[in-house]
Symmetry: C2
Subunit: 455 residues, 2 copies
């Protein structure tokens, strides 16, 4: 609390906040234009409904590159161009199926999805005994007892975390490392409880990776409802075995692209302000909140600057990053180019936490003076019920940290995000136009201030 008083006082004295009245009027103009005339929602409808799933390396992924480039040209970006990057090509060639084989021999279907980057089962599927563990500690106690079995990690997202990303961070290791940790002891497959904050019938996929020291065993996620079904059946000793069929796997690497739309700065064109989201999604969803929303919000910054005739001093780039979901190749490539092209990458803002009502913008830099200068803009965001926090960023812009870039992330309300994240329920209809546009509005307002006052 005393710290927040200090930040407020710092703001009053800051040379980076000397035109409060003028800035407040401009912020209002920007936000209202987006609330009334913004294109983000209709662009999102196109991305979700006319393109649909767009995993890196897939036909949908390629189409999304072409279409978002077109959108930014139509918005009047000075330049629109692609940055080539190689991406892993993970494909799912059939429908994932699973069944509980009861002690009496009867089967009961289970709703599952293969985890991203995982290798599938043999064509005939995999049938084995199942052993449930709550966490890695239990696995480590069982050790070789899991040999020849399917390990079922039944670790739920902890509902006690008010900010759901903390629960996701806590539970994520079972999806990421669960397969190899079980394979080490001879398991033949793993089922993880979906990283979902609600009970429903939709399994949630997401990236996993293998430790090359152990056999690559199949890895699937099960819906939260069916995780409970499976767990209850195991506890009551009603289960004989589980059958899993997952047809998927890695097929090398292919060429893909980041899409960049830019307004060239009038005074300091070599000072680059980046705003972005990732254009790739998982193959089972429209990727509306993750991260179609961040893409259309970032493009909206370009649109509102052009439509309101705001001529930035610095160069503003909206970037549709490629391959955030299963490789981060786009973000890495962007930073690699940035390290060599002679420009100064002063600031980057990512929106990749859903298109929900914006609650805050979080700012990170090792120099807290830079962070506090931006936090001093907080009064300008009070009308929008948005705070400026210390700490935030995004996966795609993360690699810019080594260039000294100030990183920031849009932090929307997180309560609903993990209901739909990486699941078939992440569709356009789950997005509210007002929430999406309000988020785009505060992003554009923040970029306006960074352009005006620098970092």
């Amino acid at each position: 609390m005393l710290r927040s008083v200090a930040v407020v006082l710092a703001g009053l004295l800051s040379p980076f906040f000397i035109h409060a009245q003028e800035d407040s009027v401009m912020m209002r103009k920007i936000v209202e234009d987006i609330l009334v005339r913004g294109k983000a929602y209709e662009n999102l409808r196109f991305i979700c409904k006319k393109i649909g799933p767009r995993l890196s390396g897939s036909p949908g992924g390629a189409k999304a590159v072409v279409e978002t480039a077109r959108m930014m040209r139509e918005m009047g970006a000075d330049t629109v161009y692609l940055q080539e990057c190689m991406v892993p090509k993970w494909v799912r060639t059939g429908r994932d199926t699973a069944a509980l084989i009861m002690a009496n021999g009867k089967g009961q279907p289970l709703k599952i999805t293969a985890l991203g980057n995982s290798e599938g089962t043999a064509a005939a599927g995999l049938r084995a005994n199942v052993i449930e563990v709550k966490n890695f500690e239990e696995l480590e106690q069982l050790k070789d007892q899991v040999k020849g079995k399917i390990v079922f990690y039944n670790y739920a997202m902890n509902p006690r975390f008010v900010r759901t990303f903390n629960a996701y961070g806590d539970a994520g290791k079972y999806r990421g490392q669960g397969a190899s940790r079980a394979s080490k002891y001879g398991a033949v497959g793993v089922i993880i409880r979906s990283l979902a904050s609600n009970p429903d019938d939709f399994p949630h996929t997401g990236a996993m990776s293998y430790d090359s020291a152990y056999p690559k065993i199949p890895a699937v996620a099960i819906s939260t409802n069916d995780a409970d079904v499976l767990s209850n059946a195991l506890r009551k000793r009603m289960v004989s075995q589980v059958y899993i069929k997952a047809q998927c796997g890695m097929q090398g690497e292919v060429l893909s692209h980041n899409v960049v739309g830019e307004i060239r700065g009038s005074e300091y064109p070599n000072e680059v302000i980046t705003v972005g989201g990732h254009i790739d999604s998982w193959d089972l969803a429209e990727g509306a909140h993750d991260d179609g929303a961040g893409c259309v919000q970032s493009m909206e910054v370009i649109r509102v600057f052009k439509d309101l005739g705001i001529k930035p001093k610095r160069t503003i780039r909206a970037v549709m990053f490629q391959n955030e979901e299963n490789g981060l190749r786009g973000g890495s490539k962007y930073a690699d180019i940035a390290a060599k092209d002679g420009n100064k990458y002063i600031f980057a803002l990512e929106s990749d936490a859903g298109g929900f009502t914006p609650r805050s913008i979080g700012v990170s830099h090792e120099d807290s003076v830079k962070v506090n200068r931006m936090r001093a803009w907080a009064p300008l965001f009070e009308n929008y019920d948005v705070k400026i926090n210390a700490g935030g960023g995004g996966a795609d812009i993360g690699p810019l940290r080594k260039l000294g870039t100030v990183l920031a992330g849009l932090q929307p309300d997180s309560q609903r995000y993990f209901d739909i994240h990486h699941a078939a329920t992440d569709v356009f209809e789950a997005v509210s136009r007002r929430e999406l546009h309000l988020g785009a509005g505060v992003m554009a307002g923040f970029i306006y201030l960074v352009d005006k006052y620098g970092n």
Copy 2:
């Protein structure tokens, strides 16, 4: 900004905030219990799906009284009782229909709903020319030119208001007074653009009232999409007339009830802390956000106190108010009884703005010292991203103001509320369990503090 610094400093010095660490632990315990084990969501499912619409005076309304009383008994409230009140009985006896009669004689259906409290058309319906006005100023210019016609108020909720309740307040007068203002000049009916923040096909009802000086003409709301259809057709002179059939009207008054569940205070039983929502809904909706949510959140306060063994010093009452939508008879009756029963009504908190993520609790009293004492609790709510604001309350608790009660309202995120408010889309599925329970958690935490420190 300087004012908020002052509030923070007042908090540090306040005698009403002397056990911060202890209170923080208790708040956490309360909120976590509700997030993990809360019953509000399942109670809401029952109210929406097993009872459904529950307009005051309807069979659903009567069933809701019985069932919410049962719920509070099952939660272990010390006493559960009813407060009788007479409510207006407005009924809809048939399906509301309307059609655009094109210049070529063809008809095109329009989606409408009669406004609450309005009188319907003749059994054969009403067919007349239509004249569109943007606002009352245009009506006052037209005056007698509306004679014999249907007036179409096409005033949209203003999307520029970031807080949507301000847009609702701005546009509400057309629904409330539009009929009589047009009837004064001889209009035979009115159509109002639904008070909705999104374009869709669902008309939104809501209360209207007649000025007894003028004939009571039919009054309906049209979906936002069809408002645009009608407006475009009028502009292109493609419309001949509009046909409306609405079968509804007032049928006197009937007996109904507030439902009160109470935990008796151990030290100051005559100091009453009220927490409530309204149990009535419109007849065309499940009333999930409006206001099933507020009811189940208020009951949840009773549940968590009982289940955690918290014995309040003061008397805590959860009140399911009757007839908020079209009469406020329940709230008025509650205050009438309060004025005479010898108890002190020190504080009342209402949740009637939707079951969305809580953003703040707003506190009102003519004595700003009382308000600031409660605002000083703000640091305890930071973990939940909830602020304590000056200004707030609720319609049902409003009549307690004259008794000197400190009034407060839960203020959830408002972006989606008017998409579904008073429309058939206000259903259980539109509510998020986490959002609903987080709201109940901060309400229970606030009530805990009021009980501990008084007002």
